[in-house]
Symmetry: C2
Subunit: 150 residues, 2 copies
DNA sequence: AATAAATAGTTTTATATTAAACTATTTATT
DNA sequence: AATAAATAGTTTAATATAAAACTATTTATT
């Protein structure tokens, strides 16, 4: 999406384009790494697993809040994870509106297998950039995000 | 996806998380703006429109290359755009493998309507950041991208 | 000329995403 | 106690995405 009417604008456009490209390459790169190790887990599922490894048996709303996704999106993600027997939904005796999402033994087992892979995955994104520049870049992105979300 | 084993790693993770968040907020922000103006075009369709406004009647492969998307993804996107009568597929007499994607009169008309909106949209991402910092941020992102794509 | 390799596009299958309308349950208000 | 408002989750319908297997056509190789 290249609009070149305005010098300042073209910078932000380039930034947003690059953001899209990185996001994409990140996903495919992850999928490839998982396939190499015969693991059938998407990056989105992993994100939920990570949350559960830290604190098991939380309701879907908490997952919604922590992953910054839509309710319906989490419903479907938990469906898929349940089908793969990574998690299960349990009733909450204290509040019948809640679904408590809990790791299955299978889901727990993955923790040991996935954590080192994850570290590898993220390491592959590390580039020869000073901590100062990295901080500054993060600052720019966070400002943009803040601008749009308040 | 918060992994905190390693100081350096946590920086890149935060950066990637923020990238995801911006990408998402960007999409919903765009969708909202279009809805305000009663325009039924997704951000992905707009990207294709932009390419065609510049150079009409190109084959799908060129759209694939320029948008950095999968063939199948473009097939389906052009399907949807055809259904909305924004573009049409024409046969290429010189090479029968090609589909030449061309703007309809409707698709051309949108140009006048959308360009100012687009500028507004991108302007809303502009933040109080020096050109130097913006450049530096872009440099960091491009390095990461290069790292993974060669 | 015949065959192999490359290129353009589609279909299939599966995942993820979200807005909107919905059900069920709990909490707040009158 | 009855009603309204808020909260948790699902369903539906639509879009986007991409890997893999496929068809059709063109180009390169033998």
């Amino acid at each position: 999406m290249k609009v070149i009417e305005n010098q300042d604008l073209s910078e932000i456009i380039k930034l947003l384009d690059t953001i899209r490209d990185i996001r994409k390459v990140m996903r495919t790169h992850f999928q490839k790494k998982m396939k190499e190790h015969d693991i059938d887990v998407t990056i989105e599922m992993l994100e939920v697993l990570y949350i559960l490894w830290e604190k098991d048996s939380i309701n879907q709303q908490e997952i919604v809040d922590r992953t910054n996704r839509n309710k319906a999106s989490i419903t479907s993600l938990i469906d898929n994870m349940t089908r793969r027997e990574l998690v299960q939904r349990n009733a909450d005796p204290n509040d019948r509106r809640n679904n408590l999402v809990a790791l299955t033994p299978e889901g727990k087992k993955y923790q040991k297998k996935l954590k080192p892979l994850l570290e590898e995955f993220y390491t592959s994104f590390q580039v020869d950039i000073s901590s100062k520049d990295m901080h500054s870049a993060l600052g720019v992105l966070e400002k943009i995000y803040q601008k749009l979300t308040g």
